[in-house]
C-alpha cells in the first residue's frame, strides 16, 4: 500500500507539471529564440551576382535588401 500511494503521488505531480508546461502556448508574443540553424547557398542562384542581375548593391557584395525575390 505504501508503494502504491507513493507512486500515485509522484505520478500526480508529474502530470500536473506536464499540464502546466503545455499551457504556455497562449502568449501572443514570443521572446527571442536561441540560435537555431544555419543555411548555406543552394546550387542555383536566383539573381546573378557581379552586376549580372538587377544591379542592386546586394548583388555586388553589399548588404541584402528586403526584396521578395521577384
Amino acid at each position: 500500500m505504501s508503494h502504491t500511494l507513493t507512486r500515485s503521488l509522484v505520478g500526480l505531480a508529474l502530470l500536473a507539471a506536464l499540464a502546466a508546461g503545455c499551457s504556455s502556448s497562449s502568449s501572443p508574443a514570443k521572446p527571442s529564440t536561441p540560435p537555431s540553424h544555419s543555411v548555406t547557398a543552394p546550387a542555383h542562384n536566383s539573381i546573378p551576382q557581379n552586376n549580372g542581375g538587377d544591379h542592386d548593391g546586394d548583388n555586388n557584395g553589399g548588404p541584402s535588401d528586403g526584396d521578395g525575390n521577384l
Partner: protein, 209 residues
Amino acid sequence: MSDRRRAIASLPRRVVGTAAVGVLAVAAVIAGVLAASASGTSGSSPARAFGLPAAGSAPAGWHRATLAGGAAVLAYPPVMQLVSSDRGAASAAQLSSSGEYLLYLNATPKQGDESLRNWPQFRLGHLTDDDASSAHELATISGVRFLGGTGTCVKDDYVTKVGAHHFTEIACFVQGRTSASVIVAAAPTASWASLSGLLGRAIAGYVVR
C-alpha cells in the same frame, strides 16, 4: 519492532517527502509559465529582449523616405544618404571613402510569399538564394509593435557571395492595416555592436500603413 512495522512507521515521512518534491516542482513550473506569460503580454518587452527599442517617432533631424503609395516611411539618420534600390523600394546607407557599406537601411513592399508566420525561414532562404554564401539565424521574435502595424523580425548574420563580406542584420516583415513591407537594417558584423543601437532606432521609427 518487526521489519513490517518499521516500514509502516516510516511511510508518512517518505510520502510527505515525495509529495513535497512534487509540489515544489509543479510550483516552479507554474511560476515559470506565469513569468513568461507576463513578459509576452507587452509588445515592447520582447522587442527589448531582442535589442530593439520600443516603437516611436524617429529623432529630430532624421531624414525620411516614403515607399510608393505611402505604404511605409523609412527614417534614417543624417549620417546616411539615399542610395539606389529596387523600383518601389527605398535604401539609405553610409559608405566609407572606399565605398564599403558602414550602415544600411532598406524598406521594400511585400513582393512574394513572405508573411508574419514564415518570415525568419523566408528571409534566411532568400539570403542564400540571392546574395549570401551562408547565413546564420541568431534570434527571431514575433508580435513586435511598429508604428501602424505588427512585425516579425529575424536577427542573422551572413557572408556575401561577392567579396565575402560579413554582415549582421535585423530584418522585419511588418503588416500594417492596408499594406505589408520589409525593413532591413544591416552593418558589418565587426562593427555591429557599436552600430546596432542606431539601426534599432531606425527600425523603431519605421511607420507602416
